[in-house]
Symmetry: C2
Subunit: 223 residues, 2 copies
DNA sequence: GTCTATAAGAGGATAGAC
DNA sequence: GTCTATCCTCTTATAGAC
């Protein structure tokens, strides 16, 4: 997924200064370390809240050294978004039109919940970006994401039309699945404030049970 | 709800410089204008993303003039949070232990959805704050909010125990209601990117229908 | 109460030595 | 490739005139 560079000044090098052909092991390792640390910082403070100093410290580098690898804070941010976007959308892509509706929706819910548990920073990265108006991700929302969701909404609509699911709006069902699962990552401090922080496994287990109960009884036609 | 001032330097005046006793109509009006504009700015960019310049422009004032009314950007932010917190928590407080369970939960869902529609900035203000670790709201989460949620969770648990609702975890049911309703405010750009922006009424109508269908069939015991 | 001017400092990015 | 030193802009907050 290519987000494009907002300001490709003429004569300037692209987002990533290092020429792919000449990338040494050190360069690759450093880039990965930077991206890794940057995800963590951007996820917890958003784009504007992050400072290049913090970003550099997060990967054990100095500021100018980080800026040797990524031309600017913005370029780094875009690189992180691109990196994370692929695995972010994968669970929805896996939704199988030929599978059993109930099973497919439950599997999607569980995959998204697992992502909130295992990769909460991915979720918070996107939450920050979208909450603040999706300045960098806007094109993706109206392009690739829109296509993907249209396609999967059609699948769900077909399941409703053939009586395999109760009649619900497919888009809003998808929003419901997103909201309920991402909530545990995005609002983690609130969840742990209310449930206690030594309860992570239990929290996600109970969440899955509750969602399964409500979704299955709510979506499956009564016999 | 008092959030307290993080750094009450001795000899300094409190958050709001204007002495309550002497507040003139102009002062009150100006404070309201500032708080109003500030909500809009803080909601869309978060605390760190907002600049005092923007905050001042949003209320048609100059920077020093705004800082005459509120000692610092942080003090203004806290004042906005305090102002909004009360109406933010009201719907949950309204949940009536003596009402009909299905009706009460539907009414809560509808009230929260209405808040997302009518006051999306309130929702985004809190979303930004919590997503970024609730630096100012942490005490509220572990204090007043925790008590309120415990109390309402007990109500829901009682409804489950007496067979009026399916057995679900009350906390996670509350999270589900929060997540599904606040999603429409917090991720509005995504929702409109996927559904179109000339559809606000339809969007919220369909959302309510979908949530009602899933919740009612998912929560009410089968006859 | 409101303004212009400015101090004080944080933050993004670069220069240039090594 | 990496560092120290530095530039310059943006931002918070204050001084002091009116």
């Amino acid at each position: 997924m290519d987000l494009g560079e907002p300001e490709p000044r003429p004569g300037q090098e692209p987002v990533n200064r290092v020429k792919p052909r000449k990338a040494t092991r050190i360069q690759i390792r450093n880039q990965e370390r930077i991206l890794d640390g940057a995800l963590s910082i951007f996820a917890s403070t958003g784009f504007r809240g992050a400072t290049v100093d913090e970003l550099a410290r997060a990967s054990g580098m100095t500021k100018p050294n980080l800026l040797y690898y990524f031309r600017s804070k913005k370029a780094l941010y875009i690189a992180v978004l691109e990196l994370v976007l692929e695995r972010w959308l994968e669970p929805l892509e896996q939704l199988d039109p030929d599978g059993d509706p109930a099973e497919q929706i439950l599997a999607y819910m569980r995959a998204k919940l697992a992502m909130s548990k295992e990769r909460p920073e991915d979720s918070r990265l996107f939450a920050n970006e979208i909450l603040n108006g999706a300045p960098m991700l806007g094109a993706v929302l109206q392009g690739h994401l829109k296509e993907l969701v249209e396609q999967k909404a059609a699948v769900i609509r077909h399941w409703c039309d053939t009586g395999q699911l109760n009649r619900v709006d497919p888009y809003h069902l998808i929003f419901m699945l997103w909201a309920t699962t991402q909530h545990y990552a995005d609002f983690e401090v609130q969840v742990t404030a209310l449930l206690g922080d030594n309860q992570r496994d239990k929290t996600y287990g109970d969440a899955a049970d509750t969602l399964e109960t409500v979704l299955m009884q709510g979506l499956l036609p009564r016999a």
